[in-house]
Symmetry: C2
């Protein structure tokens, strides 16, 4: 199956880009015996870099007892007379193809084929400088000024900070424990013309399907199929921004023994690991209407600034044209080091590394859930509530959260109906937003107690000034949200942080 023609989704800017005239010259450069006085390249003998060596973990590493036997030594040299067969610094530090270095590009293609399994044949991959840069290129590929974009009910602030100044609007779609709700999307599509008279229907859907930022939610395969079918029916491009894809965990079990022991590392089996991963949107994409964004930021290190697009050939060609004038290729150092690391690991080694990595983040997920369980009274609620958290020894419901099955985030929904301070604010609020005022106040109290969370309002999709208050935006009344990241803290600091949070909540709810 091949991608269908979707070029009508390209925006004016993107359609107007011309291929570089230098392309014509490039094809001639490969001719044997050609003397090129065409390329304005610095001479690699004049790069002051001789060689590079790095010690990296083997893909078999036990992250809790690293010995030198588990290190791999990488070496990259400069060879001015390199024939291009071996990666060297003359090549990787020179101007190079905006697609990315051939070996690394091919590796990402194979990884994509093996793991994400596009449902059509002629998909293309193209390197980029990480998903921030990638999303900028995608918005400038598809969106006109003032466009509307479907997003999850809570969305990643930096993604929308890009399109807000373009006069674009988010169209928030309700979520539940399985991610974006397909019935809500269908409803938004059916009622578009009456809800948005005179406005062109949104043709782009942005989603973080795995370990969603901020809600931690992971979209089920069934949900992806339903949403994909709607996107076919209504001709929508899906942008699958999936940095946390490989950090997928088992269910959190509140009744289990304390789960912070590393003693039990299950034996690794590649096909078991692969089949434990959710289906991607790409795996249902028979038409080429998904642009998938992958990155090494969460799995190897953010400082690499290397990720890749997977999409249909028409889009990838236009993304390449943009890349030529917007950024050129990712850093040669990053590409060289990643190439050598991944060459030594292979696809199988990288998958093994990922299965170890996800265990580490699962341990951190367990820590934070366990600590909340110890600090508060916790009961199992509905599937959308997840765990409901009460003041210790009280029946006062403070917040709830769904223990995440992927990613780095815990999303707390705070219930304000029993908080007198909030009720007082609400009574005197008039036309202002009592939830927003209370969130701000509580955040300051937490910071004063020396624990930092991220206010939920940061993740509210921008629908324009007239829809920015809680009432006008249609958000739920009497609740606020905080995001907690469990990726970066030690168990001790987590305990300290959650205890401080408990003190602030008890005081605010009058339970102290």
């Amino acid at each position: 199956m091949e991608a269908i023609d979707l070029r009508h989704h390209l925006n004016t800017l993107s359609v107007s880009r011309a291929p570089s005239p230098l392309k014509d010259i490039m094809s001639y450069m490969a001719i044997d015996g050609m003397v090129s006085l065409a390329g304005g390249l610095p001479h690699p003998s004049l790069f002051p870099f001789v060689d590079l060596e790095a010690n990296v973990y083997s893909s078999n590493v036990d992250l809790h007892s690293i010995t030198s036997r588990e290190l791999i030594h990488l070496t990259i040299r400069k060879d001015d007379r390199n024939d291009g067969q071996v990666l060297d610094l003359s090549t990787s530090l020179q101007y190079s193809s905006c697609t990315g270095l051939p070996w690394l590009l091919n590796y990402t293609r194979e990884l994509t084929r093996t793991v994400f399994r596009p449902a059509y044949k002629n998909f293309e991959v193209l390197l980029n400088e990480g998903s921030t840069a990638a999303w900028n290129k995608v918005v400038n590929l598809l969106c006109e000024m003032g466009d509307f974009i479907f997003v999850e009910k809570q969305t990643y602030p930096s993604a929308q900070a890009l399109w807000i100044p373009m006069g674009c609007h988010g169209v928030p779609i309700e979520m539940d424990a399985e991610g974006m709700r397909s019935d809500a999307l269908e409803n938004a599509l059916c009622t578009w013309d009456s809800d948005h008279p005179g406005v062109k229907r949104s043709h782009v859907l942005y989603t973080v399907p795995t370990g969603h930022n901020p809600t931690g939610c992971t979209m089920s395969a069934r949900r992806k199929q339903e949403i994909y079918a709607l996107c076919v029916k209504y001709d929508i491009i899906i942008v699958e921004d999936d940095p946390y894809y490989f950090l997928q965990f088992d269910e959190y079990n509140i009744k289990a023994e304390k789960q912070n022991s590393h003693a039990f590392a299950p034996s690794y089996d590649e096909s078991t690991f692969l089949s434990s991963l959710e289906h991607t949107f790409l795996s249902f994409d028979t038409e080429g209407r998904v642009i998938r964004l992958d990155t090494f930021s969460k799995t190897l290190a953010p400082g690499n600034r290397v990720g890749w697009f997977t999409c249909n050939p028409v889009f990838s060609e236009r993304l390449l044209r943009a890349t030529e004038v917007v950024s050129q290729a990712p850093s040669g150092w990053s590409q060289a080091i990643l190439s050598e690391l991944l060459r030594s690991w292979g696809i199988s080694g990288y998958l093994k590394w990922l299965s170890g990595l996800k265990r580490e983040y699962a341990v951190r997920r367990n820590w934070i859930c366990d600590i909340i369980g110890e600090t508060f009274d916790v009961k199992t609620g509905t599937s959308d509530e997840g765990l409901v958290v009460y003041g210790k020894g009280t029946k006062v419901r403070l917040f709830s959260f769904v223990p995440p099955r992927a990613g780095m985030f815990l999303w707390c929904k705070l219930y304000l109906e029993e908080n007198k301070e909030f009720l007082a604010l609400k009574a005197q609020a008039g036309d202002v937003d009592p939830e927003a005022a209370f969130e701000k106040k509580l955040w300051r109290e937490l910071a004063h107690e020396k624990v930092l969370l991220t206010p939920g309002s940061y993740y509210t999709p921008w629908q324009g000034k007239e829809k920015s208050s809680i009432a006008s935006s249609g958000r739920e009344h009497g609740v606020i949200f905080f995001r907690m990241a469990f990726s970066m803290t030690t168990a001790n600091d987590m305990t300290l942080g959650i205890q401080r949070m408990a003190r602030v909540l008890c005081r605010s709810w009058g339970l102290a």
Copy 2:
């Protein structure tokens, strides 16, 4: 002296960018004893990189007899408990400030202060991912769709490939041997309203002042002062794209002994080197209306993808807002390696390296000029012609070029008045462009003879479809141009290339 308020130059997009709400949180993170559950960062203990070592040249290196004693060994380790004082992989591979790593940012600031000498006090520097990325950010800072941009009469194709799809137009300004002509710029400004009825006057001037691409021309200090004064009078922002700044050579002396000997390396003196460099636009910039683009691409290696802006604080703050959503920081590998290299060299070491580097490119400049002198008959022409080149043993003028005093390029102006093929094309041309047709034909003949040059038409500023032919654009009739890069070729290959070129020209001009 401080920058004046130039915020009225910002475009709608740029004015509309909001600071990230996460800024508020950042300031709290530094508080002693704070537990942060706010940042969604991967844990550096889970980066698979242990350490990095690199051998690099010392700044004293003699590039013609490199011994191991002239290598410096750089080491960067991962230290999870780093207090931020030493650069390590935990910091440089983590998400980091979009301004760039503090040490490297400070280094570029000091280099800018020492060498480029801004004429106002409160200038700011900001790292970027090289000048392609920088120019994208500048155009999206200042230009609206459909804007006009002042450019040199020949301009860098990738720079305009960015703005052509935005519906922008170039306004080409005549050049002479001293660079863009100030009288031509003044004339374009005075007659703007009659020449462009109803069109907003261009408020952005893009220039490559040193070793201009493609003409190889270097703008004199006097010319910069005149142009700066006009830009003050007419309120224009100057974008000084100066990648070849440090590759400034002595005059080429056609009568000198063959200059390809490396035996004579003059003793190095820093202040002599610094005073040999042309004044920058920045050094005349009392108001903060210059945005200067610097890069390590030509001086250390393109693959670094690191450069920096120097500009007024209002522009740098808006560029930083854009950077947060368009790219984030440059590669952590690039920043770490550059930091360690430049730390070991210091400012003085880098300047010494640059003085050695420019000598290498000067030798290459001499090679190509010498070889042309041997292959053709060459006479000194007017200052705008430079050297005039005749078929060997004939009086047939083939081309002329001004031996470049900087950069990597030789710009050949071919005179077609004695070429019968061209005259025949012209006679039959009707409304088509005989110069364009002849350039294409000649380029193919050169490529067939296995020598590649870059066709001059690639550098024609885009003035819209209606002004794309030679007649409508006001370009000179009866001449075409080719660009030759002398940076990347050996002396032997240059000889081979120029001899092949001579064969093709002689055949085409009927001299064979």
